[in-house]
Subunit: 310 residues, 3 copies
């Protein structure tokens, strides 16, 4: 019976691997992507002021992964436009979501059951895109595991990684944040996928491609559906990330000095005492390991000498 | 006699098609492009602070189309520099327009008759650039009509489409506007040209290339000269655009609710009434079709849920 | 004896040319580059908030030249990641500089003798990068001296030239300045190197490659060490630049009108007089050659008409 279950899983995996994304899954991807754009602040106003900018933004949401992976692999970023059928399909979805009479399409698609199904199908396309990017990179750079991760990530999460420049198309510029400084859940889960598929491609994982496709797809779909149903935006990776961060990226000197902090004011000059107190208080309130006062003083010296150290 | 006229037109068309752009038309293009840069606010100050940034900006004005079409086709954006003769010619024009003793060249070129001739000649180069872009794309992507339009447009109006990044070279950053959000006349007319030449290339237009070159060139030159003589900046496409916009891109629900608007406050809750009133007032003052109150409420809900819909 | 000295120099030159950059010089380059990043304002905070953005920024500091020259030559910007050994080495240096327990590595490396040696070794890698860029361009564009200069410059000073976008990764955006508007010393000396190596490649310099490598390396290393020891940030090119600037890029009309300035108010209308006075005062206070009043008036007219001159 165990063998039978294994056979079933393998049959399911190979069946999933031979699934065609066109047209149903692609359509779901386009609808969900364009809806995500429409729900950005100011997007509806742009759709009125300039349908062309709105269309271009939508295409970046739909084909951003192909554009970004094209740029970093020196392949034509305009290539997605060569697939006329997909462009026309995405354009039709863009038109229906933004300009459909009575707003019928958007109203239907925002109903929870419909949205759940569409989002689940969109997540399935993510697996295909990540795998496509990893394969594309491995053809050009054999054994280049970092390139595979980068291209797989770019292809799967291109729209998010390019969001600063996508916003610029709509006249919005938010330089203070980007997907590297503060990763969203889709970007994180795509990075994980790119990592897994790259390791599998290089033979470091005891799994076949079809099995990994099944596992990863099941994980992202169930996880996304769970997050939508529970309305939580908390990432399932948060505890792992936090432990990892504390272990590897704690500010040097910060943790050793914390226990000794009562002894430090006596040694430091008054200016530093008040600074350290302020730092300590703010450090407690937001919980992040801030640089200590001596660090801050060192940084200041550093930035003064930075002109001659490039 | 009708046949003779046709012969004449065809002879004229083929004569125009075999016209060489180098050196006279190219020179006119460089002079007019560099003058357009010089007339940007702050450009003269940059020409004093950093001649190199000014030169780089000028080259983007002169060769922006080749740079942008190179980027989107994955061909080297540095390639225009390989044509040393043209770079030296453009550099000479840049020097003469910005730094000529007594400012003689700029003063001459701003005289209306001279400017008319130079601008007319510059417009002729536009046809060649659009056609070049469409042909370049069709060699790589047969039947890829969207790619042809994009590359033709990028090659013909590259400087304008890249203007945000060209301004950045000069230390200016205006994210709130770009050529997609608010197209200028040259960008529009180049898009029209890219569309026509792409359709012709794919065999959808009953015209030969030489004939379309003649027609399009005649249209853009006469139209530009007319606009300069009448000092009007109004586009000849405005009525068509407006009709097109009303027909296709009217906000759904907005037009049906306008006649019913007196009846709506009674149905809506007080918060919505005041919001609708505010919207209505602002909508009247700037004349743009703003989303109605129910739309705005929906958008707000949408933007709150946007985090979980990517 | 003269012949012997010449032999020695040639032996030294060919010995230097066959020097391998990996691993010692590359390591020094990575350490100094990551330290330069760490000494940027706000970089330490980013290293706490997002190690990934910090790592990406560090890689742009370490491999910026390869990325930028890849972009402008239409070669994959992701290619530096394919050299896994160098990426792992740079990543290790990034980790040690930012997160080493007790901050031991950074503290050691900031000691003047250590920093002097590391910076000297980093400067040696600059020669190799510039020469690599020029050779790379000359393979694709024979006789394209402008392309060689551009690619050599991009490869040697890529991190600096891309600094606006590198800062964007860390959430910082300073559009009002860039390396073209205000070149730093490393960018300038790299441009000089790209110029020399390109001229040598095209046969315009009576030197062999190995000799030029020796000369240029000796110049940049001694100059950098001198600047660090004397704590001066003044460029050795300042007098030449200033003379060059006055000779070639003086605003036309500005110098001739300065002696005549007392006579001008009588000719000008009152509005211009007050404007000229204001300009004159500010011109005196910051010492830059500002456009004169008639120029400013012309500029204003120009910017009004700029919409119809593109």
């Amino acid at each position: 019976m165990d063998v039978l279950a294994l056979l079933d899983v393998n049959a399911l995996a190979s069946g999933l691997s031979s699934l065609s994304m066109f047209p149903y899954f692609d359509t779901a991807h386009y609808v969900v992507s364009v809806m995500a754009l429409r729900e950005q602040p100011g997007a509806l106003e742009v759709s009125q002021r300039s349908p062309l900018a709105c269309w271009f933004s939508s295409m970046l949401y739909c084909f951003g992964g192909a554009v970004l992976s094209g740029i970093i692999m020196a392949e034509a970023p305009v290539a997605p436009l060569a697939n006329s059928t997909n462009v026309l399909l995405a354009t039709l979805m863009w038109y229906l979501v933004f300009y459909c009479p009575l707003d019928a399409v958007y109203c239907c698609a925002t109903m929870l059951p419909v949205r759940l199904v569409l989002t689940g199908m969109k997540e399935v396309t993510r697996t295909w895109k990540v795998l496509g990017g990893v394969t594309q990179a491995s053809r050009k750079y054999k054994d280049g595991v970092f390139v595979m991760i980068a291209v797989g990530w770019a292809k799967g999460a291109g729209g998010g990684l390019m969001s600063n420049f996508e916003q610029l198309v709509r006249g919005i510029w938010k330089p203070e944040t980007n997907e590297l400084l503060k990763m969203s859940y889709p970007t994180k889960v795509t990075l994980l996928g790119a990592l897994l598929f790259s390791l599998q491609q290089c033979g470091y994982l005891p799994l076949q491609t079809a099995q990994l496709v099944l596992l990863y797809t099941a994980f992202i779909v169930t996880n996304k559906v769970r997050m939508m149903l529970m309305g939580s935006s908390s990432s399932p990776f948060a505890p792992i990330e936090s432990a990892f961060h504390k272990l590897l990226f704690a500010r040097p000197l910060t943790s050793p000095t914390q226990p000794r902090s009562p002894a430090r004011p006596r040694l430091a000059d008054p200016a530093h005492v008040s600074e350290a107190a302020g730092k300590g208080a703010s450090g407690t309130s937001n919980g992040s390991p801030l640089p200590s006062a001596s660090e801050a003083a060192k940084d200041h010296r550093g930035s003064e000498s930075s002109k001659k150290t490039n």
